[in-house]
């Protein structure tokens, strides 16, 4: 599988016990992740390779690779579409001690990215308008 890393510009996330909130300033969107989605995002933030995430999903949720891999792939595509992650050449790290407890989770659910677009207008920076020629490009130093 291809490997991915979190986009470095304008993305921030906060982890709570039952939810992860992500902010994407360049797109003006924000997101909520729960359960499996939190699990995957936390590992992406640690630059864990996709193959290892499949391994960890299988182990943590007691599911087969045949279930874990397509679910991860669909979810990664959603994250790419939202420009939250991007493909990377590096192979990623192979272990992430301490991110999630070393025990089996209760049940596997398909990871869901909840997308909130209602603040786009507010969150996206407005480019400044072209200078109005009638206003003489105020307030700039005159070109010499």
């Amino acid at each position: 599988m291809l490997n991915y890393t979190v986009n470095p510009q304008g993305i921030a996330s906060e982890h709570f016990q039952d939810e992860t909130i992500i902010l994407n300033l360049p797109k003006g969107n924000y997101y909520s992740l729960k359960g499996t989605g939190q699990f995957i995002w936390s590992h992406l933030e640690q630059n864990v390779s996709s193959d290892v995430i499949v391994e960890l999903l299988s182990k943590y949720y007691r599911i087969t690779h045949d279930v874990a891999e397509p679910a991860l792939e669909v979810f990664l595509n959603q994250l790419v579409e939202q420009e939250l992650i991007r493909e990377t050449d590096f192979s990623g790290v192979n272990s992430t001690p301490g991110i999630f407890p070393d025990k089996v989770a209760e049940s596997f659910t398909i990871p869901v990215l909840e997308v909130y677009t209602d603040m786009q207008e507010l969150l996206m920076l407005d480019p400044i308008h072209d200078a109005d020629p009638e206003k003489g490009g105020w307030p700039y130093k005159n070109n010499e």
Binding site: I11, E14, F16, L25, Y116, I128, Y140
Partner: protein, 349 residues
């Protein structure tokens, strides 16, 4: 692009300060305001409508004026005081597409806002700021309700103070933030407390000391939509901009009409997330910290044009406080009653 150096900002601000201080004839206002014992001097130059910049902060006029305020803000109306400021050292292509001046240090802030034609330049090290306004008369009316919001945010940005988009009500023993997305009932919940035992510290932006968890009132304005005016008929005679309704929100400057309803600061006890249910009475239900962050962070970051890292500061605040949904009832007096009851239980518990 010209490579700018720090000295350009310093020398521009120094010369600007010298020129303004010498041009007493154009100064229409000069006084100090105080938030959390931080004195900030405001000097208006060529501004005839001085109330535009002072109505919302008049309650924070300093009683004892310091001889050395930590920040001086010079507001210069270029349409009147055209020759007062020195020539800009920046050219048009020194700004990025968002209006930020490139090549300055982290200590400085300089930005051109094209929609209202205001250039703001601030040096944190020098404690000087120039707000250069093309024409004060052309500023949008709603800016009257939060003067210097961006300057104050930039000034306190790297300190223990956090600016958040929330209403705040409480009493000398403690209070709560009321925050949520538009249409959830934040304004109604905040305004409903005006005639109660709870005091008002803001309905838009407040400043929070994140170390002591103290809310500081920034602005004394209460804002209400034209569609909400019938719920608060006693406020109608005090709406200062009735001519701007319904396109803009009505502005009521409480310092002038209900000064007893204001509180300068209180200890922050909880975050309440209003949502209207249509039930008669008001009910509290636990909210998750994720829900509180979703309610508080996006609009705060968007309105302040802050960077993404601000979310972690807001999350840090939320981690320290209990969070509740306040399901507001149609009987408005049940809103302050519910908040007061919770505060009493909290202070006794």
């Amino acid at each position: 692009m010209t490579v700018l150096i720090k000295n350009n900002v310093d020398s521009f601000l120094e010369e600007a300060a010298n020129r303004v201080e010498e041009t007493l004839v154009l100064q229409t206002f000069s006084s100090c305001f105080e938030w959390a014992n931080h004195q900030i001097r405001v000097v208006l130059v060529g501004v005839s409508d001085t109330d535009f910049f002072t109505d919302a902060i008049v309650h924070r006029l300093a009683a004892d004026i310091s001889t050395s305020p930590e920040l001086t803000i010079y507001v210069v109306d270029d349409s009147v005081a055209e020759k007062v400021l020195p020539e800009p050292f920046w050219k048009e292509n020194d700004l990025d597409i968002y209006g930020h001046l490139q090549g300055i240090t982290e200590d400085d802030f300089a930005e051109y806002s094209s929609f209202n034609q205001v250039f703001t330049i601030l040096s944190r090290k020098m404690g000087l700021c120039v707000v250069w306004v093309r024409n004060v008369a052309s500023l949008p009316e709603w800016e009257r309700s939060f003067p210097f919001r961006n300057v104050l945010y930039q000034w306190f940005k790297n300190s223990k103070y956090l600016f958040v988009h929330a209403g705040a009500v409480g009493n000398p023993h403690g209070g709560v933030l009321l925050t949520g997305k538009g249409g959830m009932g934040k304004s109604t919940a905040t305004l409903s407390c005006l005639d109660s035992a709870l005091k008002y510290a803001g309905d838009d932006f407040v400043m929070i000391d994140t170390e002591t968890l103290t809310v500081h009132c920034l602005y004394n304005v209460a804002k209400l939509e034209a569609s909400n005016l019938h719920r608060f008929p006693e406020l109608a005679p005090h709406v200062a901009n009735m001519q701007s309704l319904p396109q803009e929100k009505g502005q009521v400057f409480l310092h002038f009409c209900k000064p007893e309803s204001l509180i300068a600061q209180f200890s922050l006890k909880a975050i309440f997330l209003p949502r209207f249910t249509g039930q008669e009475t008001t009910v509290l239900r636990p909210a998750t910290r994720g829900e509180a962050l979703l309610a508080l962070a996006p609009s705060t970051i968007g309105l302040l044009k802050a960077d993404a890292q601000m979310m972690s500061r807001i999350a840090g605040l939320i981690q320290k406080l209990p969070c509740y949904w306040i399901e507001t009832g149609t009987l408005l007096d049940t809103i302050p009653a519910t908040i007061s009851t919770w505060l009493n239980i909290d202070s006794n518990g």
